[in-house]
């Protein structure tokens, strides 16, 4: 006997597609924008605020803006919006600092080579990935040679590296060097050897307890005091070391959090199979721990990248320094908005890309359901 209310015999019910009303833009709007009275009010208020703000911003930044002009006066004569002509005229300095104009191609080339070196790291289906990694490993040497010179290329004083290039150089070096160092510190902090553990804890806590600015001042002044007289030690190199140490302490704590989330059973299984400590860390524990730590690691990197602007305080001319210098120019006085918005956009593009990449990575590394 078949129950009249059932459309199928028990045990024969097929898998059906979900009803249409579960998807679709109208349903989405009904659910997310107009779901309840409060929701409706919030939606309307938000729309009104957008109506107030967005046209103003667009007018200032795009429609009434001036892109080509010789001075602030000329800008004002042409239109009332932003005077991007400044960024336009000074674009080279913003990006390259005081690097000799005839040698700027070296920075461009380094940037292209850098992206190529990044490719096999970021994209696991790069053809010939293994061989490509060798190039990525050699890239820092190539970059150093290109930026500083030698072997037939004109030498450029490192103090002339400035503008956004300087921020990128410090940021990238700090990121690349602090990740391995931070991982080692995190492992050291969980080590069974008391001396290793104590050293790592002391290092991490000391670095975390001191503001980066202080470390940068140490780099710019006090290191000379400790070094034997007569040795010159490049200022940018000192800054690179300090920034790396600083961010490695943060990375170490982020990674330690990831390590702690890995169940003990994982290392036990690895031990029981006969894997050694380093094998078990490299093959079993770190891949899982780093995956969990991705949001924290990227967060640290984003922070580090923005903190590179602090070098302006110890007299290096990064993009912020160039910005301030150009504001002092009598032809362009009073354009603080344009300068800082331009710099903000530069940083935003880089940091937002990092954030998006981290989301892509998390999705890609997700295997199966969580329990």
């Amino acid at each position: 006997m078949v129950d009249a209310s059932r459309s199928y015999e028990p045990g024969t019910h097929p898998d059906l597609p979900p009803p249409l009303a579960v998807r679709g833009p109208i349903l989405w709007m009904r659910k997310n924008l107009f779901g309840s009275p409060l929701n409706v009010i919030l939606t309307l208020v938000s729309l009104y605020l957008l109506y107030l703000i967005v046209p103003g911003i667009l007018n200032w930044a795009v429609f009434d803006a001036v892109f080509v002009a010789g001075s602030r006066e000329e800008c004002r004569e042409i239109d009332s919006g932003a005077c991007w002509a400044l960024a336009n005229v000074r674009f080279g300095q913003f990006i390259y600092g005081f690097y000799p104009v005839s040698e700027r191609w070296r920075i461009d080339l380094t940037a292209v080579l850098f992206l190529l070196a990044l490719l096999p790291l970021l994209w696991d289906r790069t053809p010939y990935r293994r061989q490509w990694f060798i190039y990525s490993g050699l890239f820092p040497l190539v970059a150093f040679f290109l930026l500083v010179g030698g072997f037939g290329l004109d030498r450029v004083e490192t103090t002339r590296i400035g503008g956004f290039t300087l921020n990128v150089v410090i940021g990238v070096t700090g990121i690349v060097a602090s990740l391995p160092l931070g991982i080692l510190l995190a492992l050291g902090r969980r080590s069974h050897m008391p001396i290793v553990r104590t050293l790592c804890v002391m290092f991490i806590e000391f670095i975390r307890g001191v503001p980066l600015i202080t470390l940068l001042f140490v780099a710019s002044t006090m290191l000379n005091y400790f070094l034997p007289p007569g040795t010159t030690f490049d200022l940018i190199l000192r800054v690179l070391i300090m920034v790396t140490l600083f961010s490695s302490a943060y990375i170490a704590e982020v990674v330690r959090g990831g390590l702690q989330a890995i169940p003990k059973g994982q290392t036990e299984a690895a031990d029981a199979m006969g894997l050694g400590y380093w094998q078990s860390m490299r093959l079993i524990v770190l891949p899982q721990a780093l995956k969990i730590s991705i949001p924290g690691i990227v967060n640290t990197f984003v922070g580090l990248f923005k903190d590179t602007t602090l070098v302006v305080i110890i007299g290096l001319t990064d993009v912020l320094g160039v910005g301030r210098a150009s504001l002092a120019d009598s032809k362009w006085q009073g354009l603080a908005w344009e300068v800082y918005v331009f710099i903000a956009i530069l940083f935003f593009v880089c940091c937002f890309s990092m954030a998006r990449y981290s989301i892509y990575l998390e999705k890609k590394l997700h295997t199966g359901h969580k329990r």
């Binding site: 169940p263 059973g265 994982q266 031990d271 029981a272 199979m273 590394l365 295997t367 199966g368």
Partner: protein
């Protein structure tokens, strides 16, 4: 019947595991007290006892997941000391299956199985793959080889864990409650694999409360309580004629429901 099946399986008189006067403490807590146990090659021993009696700790001492403080443990003619080389050698020869499988979630089933052969035995990848597929077929899940552990059922995961251990061609297999974390309908698929393994002559030391399994394949059943081995006997004798009051109590608790 059942003991006849057990008798069919040959046991050599070579010694596989020898534990002599072994003690272990966690801090001040005396977990294992004077453990003496000899396991011959090809023997299948079932260890049972109430929770907290030290069963896991005992078998984990055999591959040095836990360190003992007194007495001797000799596995496959190698004595467990602080010598890292000895420990590594013993771990290569002893496979272990855990209650919670402990598969590596970031690796596929196949990669789980080939990891140790490649990195510990230094086999070429191709050969390790072939061995892994052989054992995955033996535990009847070759079609899952490219999936991740998180996509499998508990029973399938435990069978992968067994295959993973077998890929190292161990001489001895340790099982720590391999079916306790499984839903009831999956227990038998794992036990079938274990029976199959026992019939192939593997030396096995199993902590389990599956008394059907013990009856079918065990040469001896060991009962532990309070960190001591209380009783040790052949399965039929053990179940029908327990000697100590504690064994009787324990058996009445696990058999009567």
């Amino acid at each position: 019947m059942s003991d006849a099946a057990a008798a069919n399986l040959s046991v050599s008189d070579e010694v596989a595991i020898q534990i002599i006067g072994m003690h272990k403490w966690y801090g001040d807590f005396h977990v294992l007290k004077d453990i003496n146990l000899t396991v011959n090659r090809g023997e299948r021993i079932v260890v049972c006892g109430p929770s907290g009696s030290g069963k896991s700790t005992m078998i984990r001492c055999i591959n040095r997941l836990e360190e003992h403080q007194k007495g001797r443990i000799i596995v496959d003619d190698i004595e467990l000391t602080h010598d890292v080389k000895n420990i590594a050698e013993i771990r290569r020869e002893v496979g272990m299956v855990f209650q919670h499988f402990n598969l590596f979630p970031h690796l596929t089933v196949l990669e789980n199985c080939t990891l140790a052969p490649i990195w510990v035995r230094r086999l070429p990848k191709k050969e390790a793959d072939d061995i892994a597929m052989h054992y995955l077929e033996r535990v009847k899940i070759p079609e899952q080889a490219l999936k991740y552990p998180g996509q499998l059922s508990g029973g399938q995961q435990q069978r992968v864990a067994i295959a993973r251990s077998l890929c190292m061609s161990p001489k001895i297999m340790l099982f720590d409650e391999p079916t306790s974390a499984l839903d009831p309908e999956m227990i038998s698929e794992v036990l079938d694999v274990m029976v199959n393994l026992a019939e192939s002559g593997m030396t096995m030391l199993c902590v389990t409360h599956e008394m059907g399994f013990a009856r079918k394949v065990a040469n001896r059943v060991i009962f532990m309580d309070g960190g001591e081995i209380i009783e040790e006997n052949e399965p039929e004798e053990f179940f029908h004629n327990p000697q100590s009051a504690r064994t009787k109590l324990f058996l009445s608790q696990i058999l009567h429901h």
